[in-house]
Symmetry: C2
Amino acid sequence: MITPPSAEARREAGERLGALAVPAGALGRLGELGVWLAACQGQVPPAAPSNVRLAVFAGDHGVATHGVSAYPAAVTGAMLGVVAQGRSGVDALARAHGVHVRLVDVGVDHESGHALHVRRGSGAIHLEDALTHAETLQALEVGAAVAREEIAAGADLLLSGDLGIGNTTPAAALVAAGLGVPAEQVVGRGTGVDDAGLARKTAVVEQALQRAGARADDPVDCLTALGSADLAAAAGYVREAARAGVPVLLDGLMAVACALTAERLEPGVAAWCAAGHRSTEPGQSLALEKLGLEPLLDLGLRLGEGSGAVAAVPLVRAAAALLGEVALLAEVLPPDA
Amino acid sequence: MITPPSAEARREAGERLGALAVPAGALGRLGELGVWLAACQGQVPPAAPSNVRLAVFAGDHGVATHGVSAYPAAVTGAMLGVVAQGRSGVDALARAHGVHVRLVDVGVDHESGHALHVRRGSGAIHLEDALTHAETLQALEVGAAVAREEIAAGADLLLSGDLGIGNTTPAAALVAAGLGVPAEQVVGRGTGVDDAGLARKTAVVEQALQRAGARADDPVDCLTALGSADLAAAAGYVREAARAGVPVLLDGLMAVACALTAERLEPGVAAWCAAGHRSTEPGQSLALEKLGLEPLLDLGLRLGEGSGAVAAVPLVRAAAALLGEVALLAEVLPPDA
């Protein structure tokens, strides 16, 4: 069980929010966000996050060769290069908003040689396990190590992103397993698969859930059977952030599926999370509802890579500024009031 | 008729959007926003707005003493001081997002002595005209002069905000008159009026519309009969920005009611506008629909002062960054592809 954010700071921040020289509730979602941030930081008012760090977990997925994606698996490697060159969507957003980007190749299908690379691609989950049990534990630890390194670098807000053709399929499977709902409730069009592709993708997730059977009840077995190296790493990352008491801003389906899985691994993770952007993937909304989170933005972004979380970073800073800088009613009222 | 944004730049920006190395439509609302910005600037890719300037138009309203607001009229003067000291909600947001704030006291009920001050408060619109015809023309020119000054100071994106107890009542009346709809469709709770207050407010707007009669068909007469000095100035401001070819990011009910009125004064204003934040006031959504605009944010903010527009400024910058910095598919594909 993870230590929750400070109840005392949450109470004090709520009182401060109510004492600001604004109409009751006038800060809307930014008021709630400021209170959450204060609770996470254990201080009122909260500081605006100034060292925001994103880890993009990349990997290939065996299902990508089974017609579940609008793009061929080879695009993963190409996109890896685009992100590394700073030319991807999330790179542009991160520069605009002062967010540090780190690319973590956990499971792309190539010879990496890097210590954080767990394996070349993950298994096609409808036919075989994504990982071995040992690889799952290794990937969870890779994510935790990345979180620790980013925190050591001064991170006061952590984001996770995803990169890898086919990754919405295992992510949807993790959500279905975590919530106990059938495949058709969680499967979406990903980067833009057509109706036939959507049907194939749904069948793949359903077959994977049947193959996993009761193993889906255990979150580690769930990652082994239905996940991937990159998703297990992202789950380990968000769990470690929560353990260390560093708030996390979630992105789309992959980040939220991993937060849901991390919450199953160790209850209390979700309290350290806020949601940046509403995904067009139905599984994200279902998982967010379970976690008690409501996204800040709904802009129809489908870029992946953590872009929806990065786009929401200015709102977190705005929330801190409002709670910290707006005058108190007591300061504004005339002395005899 | 105002010269529209560049159709050529819009076309070219749309082509660039379609050529980016991202799935089709993956930039969502930020893609559309980038194309709009490019059309306004007449260049592809567009530059991220770096000199964003907000003018907050302040005024008192005769209706405020007739039970339409949750707050007494004296709060306008107090809030003027809070904004001037940089301690208001919009000040905090503007500092967080690098937006310049200018407070323009057009019609607060006090001796001002400033050349831009048109009158002490505006008339209670259900009983009398808000302004004389001459005052309406003067206030429109005040707003235009402010826009010219802000543009001369280098503004590449203009925002307008509002300050003044009771101002949602004349703004709702302007929307009702502009759209030809009854009072109950446009009146909301403003800063938080109760059911009885909402009924009084609706009755005031209905009475004002009946009093104005056919004068509501003319936008200048409409401002004279149903508006206020500060709202007329805000309408003049957005019209002048559009005339000068400077894009405008709209805030809540007041800004949108004034943009609607400006569009009636001179068609073509709306093409230079984007909408920052969905107001809880029903009149804002109706007017936006008429103008063909859809807000970027929906955070439940009810701060006024232009805060919803300021909160959306990072999204405009993000849109420019995405359209300008993301790799083109042709750059990413291998040479033989």
